[in-house]
């Protein structure tokens, strides 16, 4: 059986959709962060696969993936720092408790 591009793209798309679903439905901030991480990683897979199968002579997609991984790490670090701050103030990391400002 030959492994074509589709075998990578469909799991990546499923990952992305799971991420969006998790972002919307999860109530715990850490779980939301994990969902975001899923979305970002599916982007990385997409770039790597497109580069590997469609444009094998170049490295642009791979480079983008590397930078995207770095950016995702920075985002996670910052988000966790802020979540810790929220926890210190309110002892909760549930989004349904962070609703003082509305509408």
């Amino acid at each position: 059986m030959e492994i074509t591009m589709l075998y990578y793209l469909i799991p990546s798309l499923i990952m992305f959709c799971c991420g969006v679903y998790g972002f919307i439905t999860r109530r715990n901030m850490i779980a939301i962060l994990i969902s975001l991480e899923l979305m970002l990683n599916s982007v990385d897979i997409n770039f790597a696969v497109f580069n590997r199968f469609l444009f094998p002579g170049e490295l642009e997609g791979m480079f983008f993936t590397l930078f995207a991984i770095g950016i995702a790490a920075a985002e996670t670090a910052l988000a966790i720092a802020i979540i810790i701050n929220v926890f210190r103030v309110s002892e909760k990391i549930d989004v349904s408790d962070v609703t003082k400002m509305k509408f």
Partner: protein, 488 residues
């Protein structure tokens, strides 16, 4: 490698130098000298702004094999942003010198300069990798700035809302980019435009929708605006003012560059109608929600959402005039919004009050503050002879010039919305001048820096519309741009 290419990036390098000097000052100076950090940063940035006006323009140069490009328009929008940042720096002096901020005021200025650097990259990037790096370094430090008020719970809530939506939007944006990369095989703006041809694939339309929604989050266009009000309300006022004008101005310009340079040939096929829908919804929803707000910062958040819709009208025109009108609108918006935020910040620093009902009778206790606020509201609403009227006039004219029936309807809806917006802007003026209640806020003398910031803003609001030099120099810079080569 040719190192002289770095000279094309002189404005970016200038911001970096200012950042490094502020960082060194904050780290190595003795404790006593740190009280002057705010003044030091403001003066340094003033020098940089002047230098950037004088030497910033290097003509049209593509550096680093086309990854980075600068032109008179790019350096002009950077100068406009510089002026805004300078006013924000002046207005924030009192807040950063406050008791609770002493430990981390240096961080505020460093983060602010890093985000400005990121915005510069967004404006000048002609390669999506550089653009994404700019976008992220413009939005991530802002989350830390939003969380600056450590003792206020709202600040943290705003920060968590901001960071989660920002990451979500950048994930969607990068997903769109991956589709674009799969279709075109390159991330250079020009190469993508060449490779994509003129046939609009379904995948391309999906990618375009992802990209538009990603940048739309930053601009707070309407389906993606839900973070705006909460973040504006929770963030410290200086950060809110920075977020509402500078970040929005840079994102608007970068949005135009992407749409026109990368997807220009699909203008009528794909994104013209998306943009129409976005503009109508943005202006209308922003206006309707602004009417029911009681908190001044929340109120200005929704007002800035609807203003973002007007800024988008400059993109719809897709010509040099639209570009010039958009840049002029951003300039005027910087001055009028910062005047409003200056007054709000001064009152908040003194009394801690931010509700609209607190402003009842302000004209009797603090006539000058009320006067500055009134001018800002008039300018935001677009009442002649203030600058806001001229910026709205130019932006409507540039859109109309395109000449189709659809755009007439679009501009008509925008015009009707301008009238609706008059209602809620004048509510503030009514509270300050007509309301018969006793003044809630006692008479006080605001700090020297706050007064300076407000005077600059008021002078700008009055002069920008009447003195034709500003608009002329913007349109001169815009006329020479080669952005609109691919429009189809």
């Amino acid at each position: 490698m040719d190192y002289s290419q770095f000279l094309a990036m002189r404005q970016e390098l200038g911001v970096l130098i200012v950042f490094l000097l502020v960082f060194l000052y904050d780290t190595f100076m003795p404790k006593k000298a740190l009280n002057a950090t705010a003044g030091f940063t403001a003066i340094l940035f003033l020098l940089f702004t002047v230098a950037s006006f004088v030497w910033g323009n290097v003509g049209t140069v593509d550096a680093f094999s086309g990854m980075y490009s600068t032109s008179p328009v790019c350096s002009m929008i950077k100068n406009i942003l510089n002026v805004g940042v300078l006013i924000v720096l002046i207005q924030s002096v009192r807040w950063t010198n406050g008791e609770l901020m002493t430990v981390r005021r240096g961080e505020f200025y460093e983060l602010l300069l890093v985000t400005l650097f990121g915005m510069y990259l967004m404006i000048s990037a002609r390669h999506f990798l550089l653009f994404v790096i700019g976008l992220e370094s413009a939005s991530l430090p802002l989350a830390a700035m939003v969380a600056m008020d450590k003792n206020r719970y709202e600040s943290h809530e705003a920060a968590i809302k901001y960071i989660l939506t920002a990451v979500f939007s950048s994930a969607i944006f990068m997903m769109g980019l991956s589709f674009v990369y799969g279709l075109a095989g390159s991330l250079y703006f020009n190469d993508i435009a060449l490779q994509l041809g003129t046939q609009a694939d379904t995948l391309l339309v999906v990618a375009l929708a992802f990209v538009i929604s990603g940048v739309g989050f930053k601009l707070s266009l309407v389906p993606f605006h839900l973070w705006t009000a909460d973040v504006y309300q929770g963030a410290p006022t200086s950060v809110t003012s920075y977020l509402s004008v500078i970040s929005k101005g840079a994102a608007a310009f970068a949005f135009l560059v992407i749409l026109v340079q990368v997807f220009g040939q699909f203008y009528s096929a794909a994104w013209e109608w998306m943009l129409y829908a976005l503009i109508i919804v943005t202006i209308t929803v922003g206006n309707l929600f602004a009417i029911r707000q009681k908190n001044m910062k929340r109120f200005l958040a929704f007002s800035s959402i609807s203003q973002a819709g007007y800024i988008m009208l400059g993109i719809v025109g897709c010509n040099e005039m639209g570009l010039a009108a958009m840049m002029y609108y951003i300039l005027v918006y910087i001055f009028s919004n910062l005047a409003a935020f200056g007054v709000i910040g001064a009152i908040e620093n003194q009394t801690g009050k931010v509700d609209m009902t607190d402003y009842n009778g302000l004209s009797r206790s603090n006539p000058w503050l009320a006067f500055a606020m009134m001018l800002a509201m008039f300018s935001l609403a677009g009442i002649p002879p203030f600058a806001g009227f001229f910026s709205k006039f130019f932006i409507f004219t540039s859109a109309i010039n395109q000449g189709s029936t659809a755009i007439y309807i679009l501009v008509l809806i925008a015009l009707i919305n301008t009238i609706a917006s008059l209602y809620y802007y004048l509510l503030v003026v009514k509270a300050m001048y007509i309301s018969p209640e006793e003044p809630q806020i006692p008479a006080f003398r605001s700090a020297c820096s706050e007064r300076l910031g407000m005077w600059i803003c008021v002078a700008g609001v009055i002069a920008l519309g009447i003195v034709s030099f500003f608009y002329n120099s913007i349109i001169e810079a815009a006329a020479g741009s080669n952005l609109f080569a691919f429009i189809g």
